[in-house]
Symmetry: C2
Subunit: 375 residues, 2 copies
Amino acid sequence: MKITRLYAVIPLALAAALASAAVAQDAVVGRSMTAEYATLEAAQNAANGMAGPRTVPGRSIPVPNTASRELQVSIAAPYRVPNWNADPKSPEEWKELVNKLASASAAAQVGIREKLGVTLEPTLIGGVKAFILSPKVIPAVNQNRLLVHVHGGGYVYNPGEAGTGEATLMAAYGGFKVISFDYRMPPDYPYPAAMDDAMAVWKAALGLQNPRNMAIFGTSTGGGMTLAMILRAKQEGLPLPAAIAPGTPWSDLTETGDTYKTNEWLDNVLVSYNGYLSRAAQLYANGRDLKDPMISPIYGDFTGFPPAILTSGTRDLFLSLTVLTHRKLRRAGVEAELQVFEGMSHAQYNFDPYAPETKETFGEIARFFDKHLGR
Amino acid sequence: MKITRLYAVIPLALAAALASAAVAQDAVVGRSMTAEYATLEAAQNAANGMAGPRTVPGRSIPVPNTASRELQVSIAAPYRVPNWNADPKSPEEWKELVNKLASASAAAQVGIREKLGVTLEPTLIGGVKAFILSPKVIPAVNQNRLLVHVHGGGYVYNPGEAGTGEATLMAAYGGFKVISFDYRMPPDYPYPAAMDDAMAVWKAALGLQNPRNMAIFGTSTGGGMTLAMILRAKQEGLPLPAAIAPGTPWSDLTETGDTYKTNEWLDNVLVSYNGYLSRAAQLYANGRDLKDPMISPIYGDFTGFPPAILTSGTRDLFLSLTVLTHRKLRRAGVEAELQVFEGMSHAQYNFDPYAPETKETFGEIARFFDKHLGR
């Protein structure tokens, strides 16, 4: 696959300064460190002395002490290889990798559900395989409410129970009944299969509950699909949910947005667009224009969207996609809230089910849903 | 001044990879670029293969096309030398630099006010030098409303009319009458002079208008002071305003927060904590603990704070301070909104008075104030 971005040139003077910076040792302080910094500062001022691209030096960035201890563990974690840079050479290789990762994820879900008191019930909704996640007790206020969850994974990862983790967290921390559906994915089923399944689920859900008492939510690909579902429901004249929660949504499958560059190599979940993401985008679009609003919903019309709450992190490769989506919703007159977590990479609020930031994320989404959903 | 942070070691293998990356040319595409990327990817995977700090490579980051053309100009702009890295060696040198920069800023304000139809009237409020900024027409709904503006500039920059730019924008785009006050600053007047002036202004403002019809706002140092004013008003048992808008607040004068590192050298306004910021922090605190909540309000108790709207950008050195402040407000049960702009460095919504993002920033703050202020 062709690498479409151009790797930019690092000025030689700066490269030399960076190489010399490597001589420094953590234990060296005071005068020599000051000299080190002065050299770096001079090189940076020189490299950024004219209008144009920004030159940033290579560096080692510590784990921030401003995140919870649990999140610090996620921030410190190494890149996820092969997840982030997977490059299978055939449909068979894709399926082998996806199934291997999904088995491990699904197995981990069992203990999490048990600990959080959430039950999982396999079902079919609108002919689509799905799971119903229920908390031990559904509060009275949520008895007539129903959430629809769209899992993430770049349109390739997380089939089956592997995709239910976020639904479990929402059921546990929000006290909601949640339908999480197992949409068809590439390489066997490219676009529009996933969206067709999503709309079949939404139509069936409309027969189960009043749309004013329902919300749709999901992270990453699930956030992008949540937005695309609203675009398509508008197009098809279907009732809309009372609220949505697109978490760090993959609202643009092209490499568009500043943090695709600024947070590249810093986000330890997605790492770079040039990993599996660029390949998954092509697999899903299957020759279609990546800027089709049904594939990259940021190019759609957000007028009339339900109230939305968006979540991201300061290290998230999709921070730009999140804030661009938030701004576009606001410009369309939609009530839209934004929450951004310190030091967090892509979708990391779904990683440790017990981290304070995880509880805070779903607590805020639950509060937002409670405000907007009928009873 | 001692540089307190340790410049981290860049692994030699990575430094070598970076130096070799410098050989690439923008015009080279295809196979060699793929090889270049493969080398970088391998080096990055190796450098980030264990739990710990994150290693990021030096690189050139393009100006994003996802910001407005006007904001793109601000994003592309070179570092502001000597503003960001000023290191005056005496009080006289500080004053000479500050006055030189302030003269230029104040001069620029004349044309901006004219273009935006805002008038400036010097006055004294509570014995403090101040300016009243008024739009050409104050809408009926805002006739009995009054805003108090706290200017930014690291407690050293922007004395006099140089500090009124943001108040002009709020008057113009929000249709409010705004008091912007000229608090005393180091080197002559360290803490608590600025805060004493701020409280004198707030007490005097309470004699001019019902606090339910007032809001306090400001950016950077002005955002930090806005928060500290609420802490001190609580402490002194004074009425609180109906809303606040701390923009990218300097809520922690120590180098605490992940984006102090991750956005270092990327933010073209503040650039690095090790520039004038660290020196200004010491000048202001004048030997006091930088973590005193009246100096770094993030260490204070936010319970009972008025509704708040916070603004930042994805390249902002203070993005972490903004989101940490937002989260702390939310955890204290305060209604708090967050808006983050694509590609924006620190406080850049105040830079081009006519950029769409500038109008959007103040439009959102005005909407928020309109929602929360009495009439």
